[in-house]
Amino acid sequence: MYAQMIKSTGKGIKSLDEMEPEERAFQERIDAGGKIEPKDWMPDGYRKNLIRQIGQHAHSEIVGQLPEGNWITRAPTLERKAILLAKVQDEAGHGLYLYCAAETLGVTRDQMTRDLLSGKMKYSSIFNYPTLTWADMGAVGWLVDGAAIMNQVPLQRTSYGPYARAMVRICKEESFHQRQGFDIMMKMANGTKAQRKMAQDALNRFWFPALMMFGPSDKDSVHSAQSMAWKIKMNTNDELRQKFVDETVPQAEYLGLTIPDETLKFNEDTGHYDFAEPDWEEFFQVLKGNGPCNTERLAARNKAWDEGRWVREGLLAHAEKKRSRKMAAE
């Protein structure tokens, strides 16, 4: 998802009997559906895991602005441009909500930014794919935001209060994103032959990367159990992926587009679609930094940070000067 392959620091899950009283009270509170707030006691692993997860999620929102920002100046109409601009601005907002939530765990914004820029912290693999045509704006909104929603809706119930509250705000806005994407796809799919071809091509390129967003198969996902016990992960990767496929296939049929998977078939026995797994080797390569746009994405973030430095420092100096003048006048 927007946070993939989060390494758990715990050494497997302890039973309540093995826990010290503090930790047991903590786990029992979570089991009872209670929320953990910033100043409450929490195990070190819970804090570290959450910083990684929320930080990676925040970075994904910020880096996620780049593939779409790519099309703001080339949107086909002024209205589409205004809508895309609003959407990209929302992504910045989502990043900020999440950074704030992570900061309540004791990490600074600067530290997280530095760790993104140096490549130490990751962001979702999906944003390392290029957006080649306007139809990609449709596919990103429909599939990428659609996949994100699958993961974010349950996270509104996550155990960490500030994270859950950020998710509530994000989910309210995310639905606009998916619908604007589907709206673009409808327009393209019902347009000229060339437009329909572009729409199909966008679906072809984004289908498997979208499936990868949910992370590796449960059988290969070694960090899930502890995160699920802590309720910082609410569903398994495969559960969410299946849900996404089940909801998306009929939408593609409505558009008259073909999902690029010859094995895709509704299974009467399970009531779900059977589908092909994405190429996990490609996924691990993209996470490692070898995707089509990894270098460009990080370079763009580094450039923004470096070139914005004089602004950040200048405004801080100005604020200090104003403060000292005000104090001198009093």
Partner: protein, 114 residues
Amino acid sequence: MSSPESSEYDGTEAAPHGKARSTEWPLWEVFIRGQHGLSHRHVGSLHAADAEMAIKNARDVYTRRNEGVSIWAVEASAIAASSPEEKGALYEPANDKVYRHPTFFDIPDEVGAM
């Protein structure tokens, strides 16, 4: 590595960031009045160099969809907060003062609504 997207920036290596900035902009807590007649409610936080910028940023981050008619921004360092350990001392004394609730008193039906 070449990329299918055009970019004017040709830097291929991440720049060093070890000591890029030692001071961050201060953290501000943001409170929004949703509509006239309601009190301000905490909605989140943000970083800003000064109060004016905090209000402007709060407008952009927290009221993009008409969520408010008024914003307060308070530097987080200026907020005093109770700690979870004080929970018992602060709130338990209220538990045995049930007479503070109107339902403590039985008023006969014939008196009517009160």
